[in-house]
């Protein structure tokens, strides 16, 4: 009797669960529909989105991956802080949605003939969030504070190209000796130690942001808290609940506030990518910092319009310890291992998100620089394998006497899978006996740096600025991250030449030469170029993929959902009837942009008006305006390397 009752109960439960299951499948569809397609983008005359297509609610919820370490721009390091600080502050330069350097707080600048003096002319309409004008003195104060040893900034190395910066950081000179002078209220002069063609890009980095002096002096170490922080960017800090959310609201005093569309930005520190994805699917986020590593197929199938993948300025390598056998003086063996790694297979099967197979040190995407191509990069994998076997045998290894090596990597990400795949490829092609060793990140870093225990190790580099030198410099003798133990006098002197060279074409040739020299010696194996991968609500526009993965909230906006299309049409009709100044052009533009807008890349059509054009025009005007009497011909307002 009792058993019978139990059985009934179980049956009821089973039925309930089954019912739930059916429910779920239906629910899944409705939640997918939560991300509605946007209406077509209509731009006004000056390249801004027309009011009629903008959604009523302009609140952006961004997943930031982690809690930012700080919102003090001079202490900041790491991506989470950088993302928020780009919204809060504005440096002398800024970046356009596609990642070009554009004027920020400085409206124009000129660079002396030797590349060692930069003069910046600041906007006269720029204000701090408390209404004070942003002046050259604020930048002087900011840069001195950033270089001051008492500030103890992690990222002050960004300042090292500035004259006396190294001495100030070392405490040998007072901060007032830093090569930064306010010529007048709105003119700032920076003297350089070396001509640094990528310096303008560094000036959009948080270490160079201005801070409000009285604000910092009044609140000390708590000046970056909500209520205290005075900033000069498009947004101000409204609220900060630690490890929960950071709320920014539009800065009404920002000089370009009339073109800032998103009113509020929320940053969430979702450490778990699946959590962020679930929040995105539930419609609570419009932007995730990453997606779970193993869900490419599922995401591609279910969220093709939301999944955004684009190359990043960084690469994944395997490094060799050149100070330890068997890799000392053995470039052929290293090349054999490099040849035998089937990168197409690794990117297709292991990383899966469309990472680009890589054969060079410097990833693609740096304007004006193309890496030297390796001859064998054009071969088929079968050809590479047979050459690898030849080199392997020539180095004295065989089936009876296989190469034994250890692959060391840090836990996390795809590292384990990559090491496993590499070891099995090496075994399959060459018969190499590889052992794998995984270490906690900081332990791994230390072992890699000491170059005593490592043989083959996981390596990689993501650059803070779009310049090949950032990658090449890693192999300089004595560089802190030269974990390969690579040392070549010729290479070092090439690097010195690059550092001193200011003519872009010559500098480019030198960098090309250096990279080729490095690649022929194979001190590392390039494997693939990283991609950024995130979910973005299809109605969020105004941003573009760029290799730096820098995205300013001020450029973004939400379009109405397609289901609201009826209202848009009605709006336009109303506008045409009234013949208002603003809407006269929209009908033309509607015709022009009649092709469907797919994804963010095609957001701004090539022949269409881009939001950046006004800025480009400004740049073009600069040379005539710049007071460059004596050496005007050579005087370049913008280095070509960055802005071509």
């Amino acid at each position: 009797m009792n058993f019978f009752r139990q059985f009934l109960l179980l049956a009821v439960f089973a039925l309930l669960f089954a019912a739930c299951g059916n429910d779920n499948q239906e629910q899944q569809h409705s939640s997918r529909d939560g991300h509605e397609q946007p209406v077509e983008l209509i731009l006004t005359e000056d390249g801004r989105p027309a009011r009629s297509v903008l959604a009523e609610q302009q609140e952006l919820h961004r997943d930031n991956g982690e809690e930012p370490q700080t919102l003090d721009p001079h202490l900041a390091e790491g991506l989470p802080s950088a993302h928020i600080l780009r919204d809060l502050f504005e440096g002398l330069t800024a970046e356009s949605p596609e990642g070009r350097i554009v004027p920020g707080a400085a409206i124009r600048w000129n660079i002396s003939r030797d590349g060692k003096t930069y003069t910046f002319y600041l906007r006269r309409d720029a204000l701090w969030s408390n209404g004070d004008p942003v002046t050259a003195k604020d930048f002087v104060y900011g840069l001195r504070r950033s270089a001051n040893p008492d500030t103890a900034s992690n990222y002050a190395q960004v300042l090292l190209p500035i004259a006396n910066a190294a001495e100030v950081l070392a405490g040998d000179l007072p901060p007032s000796q830093l090569g930064v002078i306010a010529m007048d209220e709105y003119t700032l002069q920076i003297s350089m130690r070396d001509p640094t063609p990528y310096f303008l890009a560094l000036l959009s980095h948080s270490s160079t942001y201005p801070v409000h002096r009285t604000n910092v002096e009044e609140h000390g170490s708590t000046f970056s808290r909500p209520g205290n922080l005075v900033s000069n960017g498009a947004y101000v800090l409204k609220d900060w609940v630690i490890r929960s959310r950071i709320e920014l609201v539009k800065n009404e005093n920002y000089w370009d506030a009339q073109n800032v569309i998103v009113e509020k930005v929320y940053y969430y520190p979702f450490e778990d990518q699946s959590t962020a994805l679930k929040q995105f699917r539930a419609g609570k986020l419009q932007w995730t910092s990453e997606v779970p590593n193993n869900q490419f197929k599922w995401l591609q199938q279910h969220y093709p319009d939301e999944l955004m993948i684009s190359p990043w300025l960084g690469s994944y390598y395997f490094g060799f310890n050149l100070q330890r056998e068997p890799f000392i003086e053995n470039p052929e063996l290293r090349l054999a291992l490099a040849l035998a790694l089937d990168r197409d297979l690794l990117t297709e099967k292991v990383t899966q998100f469309g990472e680009l197979p890589s054969y060079t040190l410097v990833p693609p995407g740096i304007r004006g620089y193309v890496s030297p191509s390796q001859e064998w990069a054009e071969w088929t994998q079968a050809e590479r394998n047979s050459e690898a076997r030849r080199l392997y045998a020539a180095a004295g290894y065989s089936e009876e006497n296989p190469l034994r090596l250890e692959i060391r990597y840090d836990t996390g990400g795809n590292n384990k899978k990559m090491a496993l795949a590499a070891s099995s490829l090496w075994k399959q092609v060459l018969g190499v006996q590889a052992t794998l060793l995984s270490e906690e990140f900081k332990v791994f870093l230390q072992n890699r740096e000491q170059k005593v225990l490592t043989q083959v190790f996981r390596a990689g580099w993501i650059s803070d600025y779009a310049d090949a030198y950032s990658f090449l410099n890693l192999f300089r003798t004595g560089h802190g991250r030269n974990d390969y133990g690579y040392s070549n006098n010729l290479y070092d002197s090439l690097l010195d030449e690059i550092a001193a060279e200011r003519i872009p074409s010559r500098r480019r040739r030198l960098m090309f030469e250096a990279e080729r020299m490095l690649l022929t010696e194979t001190p590392f194996i390039p494997v693939y170029t990283y991609v950024t991968k995130r979910m973005v609500n299809p109605r969020l526009k105004g941003w573009q993929s760029n290799v730096m993965d820098h995205h300013y909230s001020k450029d973004m906006f939400f379009l109405k959902a397609a289901s609201e299309q009826a209202t848009v049409v009605a709006d336009i009709e109303a506008a045409t009837v009234e013949q208002t100044e603003e809407e006269v052009l929209t009908s033309d533009i509607v015709a022009e942009t009649a092709t469907p807008v797919i994804g963010s890349e095609t957001l701004i059509t090539e022949e269409g008006v881009t939001p950046d054009e006004p800025i480009q025009e400004r740049e073009a005007v600069v040379p005539e305006q710049a007071p460059t009497a004596a050496d005007g011909k050579e005087d370049k307002t913008l280095p070509q390397g960055l802005l071509e």
């Binding site: 139990q6 779920n24 202490l75 103890a152």
Partner: protein, 315 residues
């Protein structure tokens, strides 16, 4: 009277005993953290030596280790855990003060749910020993204990938050809705464990002589269970609840990560991984004090529950 002074003396002794224990804890934690390879400023990006020197100077990491140790002891003595090295805008005290209420809310709710539900289920199973009810309850408990929470949590989120849309998928707004899933996930294994503990000790107690006597007296079964059997049967549960409570209100790393709750738990892991010396020390000391205090409370509850235990030194 006699019992009261014994109790007071016992309390005092326990409190004094706390100091060497804590000192030991601080010392071991302090030096263990420093033995771990790497430091707080190591990252993929290498710092120029002058910058690293500035950073070390700022956090006194350039001083001899022993001096750092005594400096730290001095700080702890005035309850100042110093600035966090990782979260530079906050002190460790502020981080704990912000995280603790969150962890407490989730943890205490979960522990109450687990205790009430667990004991009820345990008693039910014990009373219906070896019936289908007993088997299915204990089977479910076994399941609850053995499915890890990092499996249960995503499944719950998918079912109740993503598909059904009844509850938030994560995040924290201090509301009840954002607490439901974390509390369920957190309390499930503890409920299951408490149920099994209760059942076991209840069955044992029910077979003991004084229960037989009580029943022989003709007491109603309800009174036998609530008045006589329950109190001794709960003893092992209570001694389990002490450390369990400490663990739960100081936060669970897995739960906090999956539900994105800003509690204390992930500071242990994040702090250790980042070599955020001050943060790790702060939460370890805090957790240590919590365990010691809760164990102490368990002792007191023991004395109240079990007439055989008295802290009278003359016995």
């Amino acid at each position: 009277m006699m019992q009261d002074t014994g109790m007071a003396r016992h309390t005092l002794r326990r409190f004094l005993g706390l100091i060497p224990t804590l000192l030991m804890l601080i010392t071991v934690a302090f030096f263990l953290m420093r033995v771990a390879p790497g430091g707080p400023f190591d990252s993929e990006m290498v710092l120029p030596p002058e910058i690293e020197a500035n950073l070390n100077a700022k956090y006194h990491l350039d001083e001899p280790l022993l001096r750092q140790y005594f400096r730290y002891l001095g700080q702890v003595a005035v309850l100042d855990f110093g600035p966090s090295i990782q979260y530079k805008d906050w002190t460790v005290n502020e981080l704990i003060a912000q995280g603790l209420p969150v962890s407490m809310r989730v943890g205490l709710t979960a522990i109450v749910v687990a205790f009430v539900l667990g004991t009820l289920l345990g008693i039910t199973a014990a009373l219906k020993q070896n019936t289908g009810m007993d088997y299915s309850l204990m089977g479910a408990a076994m399941l609850g204990m053995s499915i890890p929470n990092f499996v249960i949590a995503p499944v719950l989120i998918l079912l109740l938050a993503v598909y059904a849309g009844w509850l938030p998928a994560g995040g924290w707004d201090s509301g009840i809705a954002s607490m439901v899933l974390p509390v369920i996930t957190l309390s499930l294994p503890v409920t299951a464990y408490v149920a099994r503990l209760t059942r076991g000790s209840m069955i044992e107690v029910l077979h003991s002589n004084f229960i037989r006597t009580a029943r022989a007296k003709g007491l109603p079964e309800m009174v036998v269970i609530t008045r006589h059997a329950l109190r001794p049967a709960l003893l092992p549960v209570i001694s389990f609840m002490g450390p369990a409570t400490a663990g739960m209100i100081s936060g669970s790393v897995v739960i906090e990560r999956i539900f994105s709750i800003p509690g204390l738990g992930s500071y242990f892991v994040q702090g250790a991984l980042n070599r955020d010396y001050t943060l790790v020390m702060g939460v370890v000391i805090f957790y240590g004090v919590l365990i010691i205090l809760l164990n102490f409370m368990v002792d007191l509850i023991y004395a109240w529950l079990d007439p055989k235990i008295r802290y009278d030194e003359n016995h």
